[in-house]
């Protein structure tokens, strides 16, 4: 157990270093979410409704984290394949999931950075002061969003690699996610048949928990659901990851050459 945690921690730290040493990627990771947040807030500002601004402000913050994770996680294995490291990860005596989860955790950490950047941006540019009823619960909810989003990213990484264009798949998921997770528009406004889809994404529950904590409602129910859904993804992804490696060994798809 101790060696397991240590492996997770070191891999996480080193992957975080990989992700954050590229200044260009770092800027992009924050730049896009800030632009999207700006667009959303400009639309909301027309109505001049403080509650609306609070709603959009919270949503835009979590939205940045979603964007960060989705695009990169879905092309994660493809990137490793290009770098020639995928074979080494698979040839290691530990399961692939123990390698992938620290990477998606690192992505989530960049996502957290986006959340903070968005909140600061909202304050400086739009003069939005988010009203947070309980800071501890708010922070906890944001952290849980990051954690469960990492598990969801883990799932994405092992499913998306089957498609040649896993890059575009990630981008394609990004925008529907904005609607489905209730970042800017309440999930209730979506057609009924879309609701199950919304509920099946942990981030929907995480977003709800974040709003609860900000508005002084108990977030525990939503947090519980968010963790439960996240864990389901993790278990399914661990299984799919094993199947993926089996199939890659059969069909020779680990290497580019």
């Amino acid at each position: 157990m101790r060696s397991y945690l240590r492996q997770q921690r070191i891999c996480y730290l080193l992957q975080l270093r990989v992700l954050s040493t590229s200044l260009f990627d770092g800027l992009l990771a924050v730049f896009f979410p800030l632009m999207f947040a700006t667009a959303a807030l400009l639309v909301y500002r027309i109505k001049d409704d403080p509650d609306g601004m609070q709603y959009a402000g919270l949503g835009a913050a979590i939205m940045g984290m979603w964007t960060c994770q989705g695009v990169i996680a879905s092309s994660l294995l493809t990137r490793e394949r290009w770098a020639g490291t995928l074979e080494l990860l698979v040839a290691a005596p530990i399961p692939l999931s123990r390698v992938l989860v620290p990477i998606t955790m690192a992505l989530s950490t960049i996502g957290l950075y986006c959340v903070v950047a968005t909140i600061v941006w909202e304050r400086l540019v739009f003069d939005i002061r988010l009203e947070i009823a309980s800071w501890p619960l708010f922070v906890l909810s944001v952290l849980m969003s990051a954690l469960t989003l990492a598990l969801f990213g883990f799932f994405l990484s092992v499913t998306a690699v089957r498609y040649r264009t896993s890059w575009s798949l990630g981008a394609a998921l990004e925008y529907p996610g904005w609607l489905l997770c209730g970042f800017l528009v309440p999930v209730d406004l979506l057609p009924d048949w879309l609701h199950p889809l919304s509920w099946s994404i942990p981030t929907t529950w995480a977003m709800a928990a974040v709003r609860d904590a900000a508005n002084g409602v108990s977030p525990w129910g939503n947090l519980g659901l968010c963790v439960a859904v996240g864990l389901v993804y993790a278990v399914v992804a661990a299984y799919l990851g094993r199947r993926l490696v089996e199939s890659a060994r059969r069909h020779a798809t680990l290497a580019l050459t």
Partner: protein
């Protein structure tokens, strides 16, 4: 003592699809049922031209590819059924400059892979120091790999392959793309590994590399082992013969084939050297072939004609051009 590697009738086919609209499937038989074994502590060379099936063979042995049929054991563990046991005991190093995290330093790359390969935390730091020393990267261990030369990357790869102190090392064309000095240092490093008691399977398409390093060599051609033995034994296969080299300009394939039919000639290989095509003709010791060859060449412009003793390279060329 258990064998380090034991391959029995190992076979692997690849299914390739070509075309986007009308997909046609084709099966490529990359490895056609090869068998060989490697004793512990041996440095075994798998020698063959590009596309011969060397990498495919190695990938089956290191559990990255499932054999289509046949079986293989590494230190007694089956490569299909006991993947975990096999993976813990082997190291894998391939040539080229991929397979590293560019944005991490050499030390961090090694730290990362130490975790994946289960190097105990207590010994990790000293192990990494030792290996950096072994491959001569101690001075630049905190620089990002981005800035490394090809030779440095290759040496870092070897350090990575040795992290968990594996008993058997698989080196797939490690010297590819390295300059002669770097390649010589690399050969010295590989030589050291055997002194440390490791078993090494080395693939290469450089004859002299195999000759210098290997205890035993298997020559692989189009997925089949066509000869196996010590370098001396392989040389013995062509000794008793003679080699005639004929420089030509613009010789046609048909003409070369015709030259091959001359009595006393065992094989003819063509080597491009700038504008020349040099015919490397292996023939019986006493055969007088020069006149007959020149007659078959007819109008083709001919430069120098020389005769010499065969080398190991000739043995190799004869084996892989198939005569």
């Amino acid at each position: 003592m258990t064998l380090a590697v034991e391959a029995t009738e190992l076979r692997r086919t690849f299914r390739t699809t070509t075309g986007t609209v009308r997909r046609t499937r084709k099966d490529v038989e990359a490895v056609k049922g090869i068998s060989f074994h490697i004793e512990q502590g041996e440095l075994f060379g798998l020698l063959g031209p590009n596309g011969a099936g060397k990498t495919t063979t190695i990938k089956m042995l290191i559990t990255l590819l499932l054999p289509t049929s046949g079986s293989a054991r590494v230190l007694g563990h089956d490569v299909v059924a006991d993947t975990r046991e096999v993976r813990r005991r082997i190291g894998y190093v391939f040539g080229g400059d991929r397979g590293l995290y560019e944005r991490l330093s050499a030390r961090d790359n090694l730290r990362y892979f130490s975790e994946l390969y289960g190097v105990p935390p207590r010994t990790q730091a000293t192990r990494i120091d030792e290996l950096l020393e072994l491959v001569g990267l101690t001075e630049r261990d905190r620089e990002r790999v981005e800035g490394y030369s090809r030779g440095m990357r290759q040496r870092l790869h070897i350090a990575r392959g040795l992290l968990h102190d594996p008993d058997v090392l698989f080196l797939d064309e490690p010297s590819i793309g390295i300059d002669p000095v770097g390649a010589r240092e690399l050969r010295a490093t590989i030589g050291n590994l055997v002194e440390m008691g490791k078993t090494v399977l080395l693939t290469t398409h450089y004859m002299f590399e195999a000759d210098e390093l290997c205890d035993r060599i298997a020559v692989i051609r189009e997925g089949e082992i066509v000869a196996e033995g010590t370098p001396a034994q392989l040389k013995g296969r062509v000794s008793g013969g003679r080699v005639v080299e004929v420089e030509t300009y613009g010789v046609l394939e048909e003409t070369v084939a015709e030259v091959g039919t001359v009595a006393g000639i065992r094989s003819v290989a063509v080597e491009e050297r700038g504008q020349q095509q040099v015919l490397i003709i292996q023939c019986e010791r006493d055969a007088e072939v020069t006149q007959a060859v020149l007659a078959r060449l007819g109008d083709v412009r001919v430069g120098r004609v020389t005769a010499r003793e065969p080398t190991l390279e000739d043995a190799y060329v004869e084996l892989v051009t198939g005569s």
